[in-house]
C-alpha cells in the first residue's frame, strides 16, 4: 500500500477548501460575467453573450431587477421572469436602455409549440403581417413567422413565432403589458395559444453593438 504523505494530505485539504470557496462564491454571486443562468430573488434569470463582453448584476432593492452592460458583442440575450408563464398582467420599469435590438416579454407555449415576443423597445417585426391589436394604450402590429426544423425547448421542431411589435415604450416610468389581450388576439387570428412554458422580460442585442439596460419586472 502506498503511504500518504503529510504534504499530500495538506494539498488535498487546500484543494477542497478552494473548491468549497468557489462553490460558495458562485452560490452568492450577484454578478454574472458573459454567460450564466439561475434564480435570483425568486425569479429565473439568464445571460448569454458571444464575442465582446457582457455583465449582469441584480439590485437587492427590487426582486425583479436586473442590469446588463455589453460591449462589442456578436450577440447578447438576457432577462428575468417566471419558469411557468400565464396570461398575467406584467409590470415593468426600464430605468435606461441603449444599444438594444429589442426589449420584450418573451416566452414559449407548448401544444402546439410556439415562441412569442411582445416587443416594448426596438423591433421584432418578421414574417407575415396578420393585423394589429390595441392594448395598454397603444397599438401592436402582429406577425407570424414559421420556423421549420429549428431548435426549440422540445429539440428540433417546426413551429410558429408569434410577434406583437410596438417598440414605443419609454424609460423611467411604470408600464404594464396585459398579456391576455395579446393571447386573445392571437387566438382570434387562429394562432393557437397552448400551455405556458417560461415567460420573461428579455433584452436582445447583436451585430457588434455596445449598450446597457437596467430594468425591473413584476
Amino acid at each position: 500500500m502506498r503511504s500518504i504523505s503529510f504534504v499530500s494530505v495538506l494539498r488535498a485539504i487546500l484543494v477542497a477548501l478552494v473548491v468549497v470557496g468557489c462553490v460558495t462564491m458562485a452560490a452568492n454571486a450577484q454578478t454574472v460575467y458573459n454567460n450564466g443562468t439561475g434564480t435570483n430573488n425568486g425569479y429565473f434569470y439568464s445571460l448569454y453573450s458571444s464575442g465582446g463582453s457582457a455583465t449582469m448584476t441584480f439590485s437587492s432593492s427590487y426582486a425583479g431587477n436586473y442590469a446588463i452592460s455589453w460591449s462589442g458583442v456578436n450577440d447578447v440575450v438576457g432577462g428575468k421572469g417566471w419558469s411557468t408563464g400565464s396570461a398575467q398582467t406584467i409590470g415593468y420599469n426600464v430605468g435606461s436602455v441603449s444599444g438594444e435590438n429589442n426589449l420584450s416579454i418573451y416566452g414559449w407555449l407548448t401544444n402546439p409549440l410556439a415562441e412569442y415576443y411582445i416587443c416594448e423597445f426596438g423591433s421584432v417585426a418578421n414574417g407575415t403581417y396578420k393585423g394589429s391589436v390595441s392594448s395598454d394604450g397603444h397599438s401592436y402590429s402582429t406577425y407570424e413567422h414559421q420556423q421549420v426544423n429549428q431548435p426549440s425547448i422540445q429539440g428540433t421542431q417546426t413551429f410558429e413565432q408569434y410577434l406583437d411589435n410596438w417598440g414605443g415604450s419609454g424609460t423611467g416610468s411604470n408600464h404594464t403589458v396585459t398579456t391576455a389581450n395579446h393571447f386573445n388576439h392571437w387566438r382570434s387570428l387562429g394562432m393557437t395559444v397552448g400551455n405556458f412554458n417560461y415567460q420573461i422580460l428579455g433584452t436582445e442585442a447583436w451585430g457588434g453593438r455596445s449598450g446597457y439596460v437596467n430594468a425591473t419586472v413584476w
Binding site: T37, V77, T156, E160
Partner: protein, 296 residues
C-alpha cells in the same frame, strides 16, 4: 443416484427461474443488441395507455440507440452533425430510419419488415394544415407484419418499454425519478451544468451535444437512453391515441410521425416517457435518431 437426479432437477428449475427473473418471466434468448420485452397491459401508472385497455405483444427492442458506427456499417456514410462511433446517429429522417431497418435486415439475412415504394406519393401523408406540404418525399411505406426484420417501435411499444413494461416502477423518467440519473438533456449535455430558462444561444455556447450511448443508468428492462440523448422515431402518425386495442399502430394517415424520449437539446419534461412529440417524416435535426425493434 436418485438424490443426485432430484438435486440436478432442482438446480435446473432454479436456473430457469433466475433466467426468467432477468427476462421478465420468459427465458427468451434475445438477438444480439436487443432486449426481450414481455408483453401485456401497461403497469406504469404515468403512461398514456394505463387503464385504457391497451395491450402489446412480446417483442424485442434495442438495448441502445442506433450508433453512428452501426449506421455507417449498413449505409456506408454518416449523416450526423457530431462525430463519434459510439454516439447515437442523428440528422436522420423517418424515411432514413425505415431504409436503414430494411438494409440491415437484408444484410443479416432477415425478411425486411417494410415495403418502400419510392415512386408513389403516399396518399395518407397529408399536408400540414398550418405549414402546408413540408414533406416532399412522401414515400409509400407499408409493413410485412409477420416479417422478422428490423423495424421501428410503434408508439405504444416504445412507451411500454420506456415505462418498464411488466417490471414498471412508474418512474417519471425512464428508469428514475431523477432526470439527471438517466437522461442527457439541455442542462447536463454540455461543458457546464445549466440552470435558469432554456435558450438555444446558451445551449450552443455550452457546447451541448449527444453523448455516448449507454452512459447513464438503464431502466427497469435494462434499456438505455429511453429518456434523453436523442429523440427516437416511432412508426405511428401523430393522432389520437387508440384505446381498448391490442398492438395499436396509430392513425391511418397524418402529417407528422411520432418521436419519443426527448433529447440533449430540449428540456426535461419532454424526456418523460409519456410525452408525445412529432415531426414531418422528412424532418431531421442533430437530436433526432432512433432505436430498433423486431417481432418475437
Amino acid at each position: 443416484m436418485r438424490k443426485q437426479f432430484i438435486l440436478a432437477a432442482a438446480m435446473m428449475v432454479a436456473g430457469f427461474a433466475a433466467a426468467g427473473a432477468t427476462a421478465q418471466g420468459v427465458p427468451a434468448k434475445a438477438p444480439d443488441g436487443l432486449v426481450f420485452v414481455k408483453g401485456g397491459t401497461f403497469k406504469n401508472t404515468k403512461s398514456n395507455y394505463y387503464g385504457k385497455g391497451v395491450t402489446v405483444s412480446d417483442f424485442y427492442i434495442g438495448k441502445y440507440l442506433v450508433t453512428e458506427k452501426e449506421w455507417a456499417a449498413v449505409m456506408g456514410s454518416n449523416p450526423s452533425k457530431f462525430s463519434g462511433d459510439n454516439l447515437p446517429v442523428e440528422m436522420v429522417t423517418w424515411y432514413d430510419s425505415i431504409e436503414y431497418c430494411n438494409r440491415r435486415s437484408i444484410q443479416e439475412g432477415l425478411k425486411p419488415y417494410y415495403n418502400i415504394d419510392k415512386t408513389t406519393k403516399d396518399p395518407n401523408n397529408l399536408p400540414d394544415p398550418h405549414f402546408g406540404d413540408l414533406d416532399k418525399i412522401k414515400w409509400a411505406v407499408t409493413i410485412n407484419p409477420k416479417a422478422n426484420g428490423y423495424r421501428l417501435p410503434t408508439e405504444a411499444e416504445w412507451e411500454y418499454a420506456a415505462g418498464g413494461g411488466q417490471l414498471s416502477r412508474s418512474y417519471t423518467y425512464s428508469g428514475s425519478d431523477d432526470v439527471d440519473e438517466v437522461a442527457w438533456y439541455w442542462r447536463n449535455s454540455g461543458e457546464m451544468k445549466l440552470s435558469g430558462f432554456w435558450s438555444w444561444s446558451i445551449v450552443q455556447q455550452n457546447h451541448d451535444q449527444p453523448k455516448p450511448v449507454g452512459s447513464k443508468k438503464p431502466n427497469e428492462l435494462g434499456l438505455y437512453d429511453m429518456s434523453g440523448n436523442v429523440r427516437e422515431w416511432c412508426w405511428d402518425w401523430d393522432g389520437d391515441l387508440q384505446t381498448n386495442v391490442s398492438d395499436p399502430k396509430g392513425s391511418p394517415s397524418g402529417f407528422r410521425r411520432i418521436w419519443r424520449g426527448g433529447g440533449w437539446m430540449g428540456d426535461a419534461p419532454f424526456t418523460e416517457p409519456s410525452f408525445r412529440g412529432s415531426l414531418a417524416a422528412n424532418g431531421k435535426g442533430p437530436d433526432q435518431g432512433f432505436r430498433l425493434c423486431r417481432n418475437k
